[in-house]
Symmetry: C2
Subunit: 350 residues, 2 copies
């Protein structure tokens, strides 16, 4: 019994050995073991082969199969930064969806460095991955990725889209998120707001900025946003830019729209460092609702993106593209939603 559960298959047992053990030709064994071919084989033979395989502990060599078939049932996943925990749900979603089809994810990191991006992509190409799902695209990366597509590598963007590139993408509805955020602050009574902008070379932040500006104008709110932009979407940068916002604004905003949770957390730090309180003096709303956003202090009001689903949908597209690489998919935008917690409240004067 225990013996059975531990049966992993032997690396060294080859299909030929199975065939020999079953007194059959290797290709018969091959077909017997392939569910899509075994109907051509007498069921008695199939049984015989299966049993021989079982007894010897045969494991198909996926490398050899990959060479022969020209496909590896592997897809490359390119992420910007593995320490950025909000991508965990994305990876989970991708891996989960892939598993159902027997695919596996090869995860590689770019650290937002373009040279690394090029190298990583080349490496994945070299590994003959069947497709790539990329959540690390910066705005200048379209030509690079299109080059990969031209090489016959199906490519799907996730989270970070590349507008007007024609590349299939699955991204959160950033415009909607900004509008929901601004509306929330407006409804609470805030009249002077500011945003903490993420890097301008990432589509999501551009879209969030634009939609925020538009909504703020529509609602005739006062915009106290600083000129400075966060160089990276990190806690440190959030702290830095928030400090600048506080120092330089002629009239202090009572609410901050941070373009992601990291920036929001940094902003809250800066608020405290300035001797103020969040949310009493300054409300802060974030974006993403990553792990822990509900446990920071104060619990973060934020825009939730459906992380796992983004990953799943992206993997799904990749899988379909593998089947038919000529298919075209319009960009997918998944809805986001408001999660109200403790970091926002009506302004003091309301």
């Amino acid at each position: 019994v225990a013996r059975q559960e531990l049966n992993l298959g032997s690396r060294s047992v080859t299909l030929k050995q199975v065939a020999t053990a079953a007194n059959l030709h290797i290709s018969t064994a091959s077909r017997a073991l392939d569910p899509s071919k075994s109907w051509r084989i007498s069921s008695r033979t199939v049984q015989r082969v299966r049993q021989a395989a079982e007894e010897l502990g045969y494991t198909p060599d996926l490398v050899a199969r990959g060479l022969k078939r020209g496909s590896t049932t592997t897809i490359g996943v390119i992420v910007a930064d593995l320490e950025n925990t909000f991508i965990n749900p994305i990876i989970r979603g991708i891996a989960g969806r892939l598993e159902r089809d027997g695919f596996v994810a090869l995860v590689a990191e770019t650290l937002n460095d373009h040279d690394r991006f090029v190298r990583v992509l080349g490496h994945l190409l070299s590994r003959r991955v069947d497709a790539v799902v990329c959540s690390a695209a910066s705005l200048g990366d379209a030509p690079l990725l299109k080059r990969a597509v031209k090489e016959g590598l199906p490519t799907v963007l996730v989270v970070r889209g590349l507008p007007r590139s024609g590349l299939p993408s699955v991204a959160p509805d950033d415009g909607l998120g900004s509008r929901i955020a601004v509306d929330h602050l407006h409804a609470l009574g805030h009249r002077v707001v500011a945003q903490l902008k993420g890097p301008g070379n990432i589509s999501n932040f551009v879209a969030r900025t634009r939609a925020f500006d538009a909504r703020v104008a529509e609602l005739s709110l006062e915009d106290a946003t600083a000129d400075e932009t966060a160089a990276e979407p990190t806690v440190e940068e959030g702290r830095r830019v928030m400090q600048l916002t506080l120092e330089r604004s002629v009239v202090r905003p009572t609410a901050i729209y941070a373009q992601n949770d990291m920036l929001a957390i940094g902003a809250i730090d800066a608020v405290r460092a300035a001797g103020l309180e969040c949310p009493q003096d300054v409300s802060v709303i974030g974006f993403n609702d990553g792990p822990f956003s509900d446990h920071v202090s104060p619990a973060l009001t934020t825009i939730r993106i459906p992380g796992v689903e983004l990953g799943e949908r992206a993997a799904e597209l990749a899988l379909e593209l593998i089947q038919d690489s000529d298919r075209r998919f319009p960009p997918v935008e998944l809805p986001v939603s408001l999660v109200v917690r403790e970091s926002t409240m009506p302004p003091a004067y309301a």
Copy 2:
């Protein structure tokens, strides 16, 4: 220039084509491109081959190479749960170290399910990974992993060791961590303490429990630990067990040793739910110092494990094992350290 940067190599360009373009035999081209063989080739020829490869955009087919060489420069990484953000630094460490040697990590998840573990391991075997780094081992898993070793798959454990299994491992010094934690609470003046135990089938929690018990006895502290153990190291379970601890203890502990940060966060929730305050009424110390532990409320006092380094060292061992699979490594224990933040303070009566 831009053209150059985008040069990813063509999937379809084969070594043979390069050889033909250079008017050479394929095996000469092969040697010319292999740094460890190219010294046998006239440098003029090497140049010629390199140039041809460059111009055609040749990319070595790592699948074919893998089949031929019998190794894939790929190592499998088995983790319990991708959503558990404290493994991010581990993965980062592993991937970072591997990259230096041109290796790549194939990440797979077990969800702490034994059947999945078996399947995952079999799959990695099938993919012919050159080694496995596993941070998902439960106490019963030694036979399974040893089976893999017997199949010729170098295996190293990271974070979660398997004592007396003989399997190489790189883990935090859990005993030290417990002692540091208890000493910290003791130094603050606490006399009645309790621990929140993680699952008993994971070596780290067992070791932490044992060392805690020993230290508490040495210092003659009163132990108000509940019988109940967390079924998983999660916030929810921390909440549940802490509630039980509060309800059932005859004399309420003034300080809690949570065996990881998740449990600690849950414990703090439960403290609040009971109408108490952390740290004023109950101090809480955690373990791991994962991402965000410094931003929860109150900022968590905890035992820091060197996540990235654990990953790096584990990858290092795996790499060495690949070179010489007969090598034996004694278990490595990396030191942990106390990080004092806001969740601990002297007891009210001190």
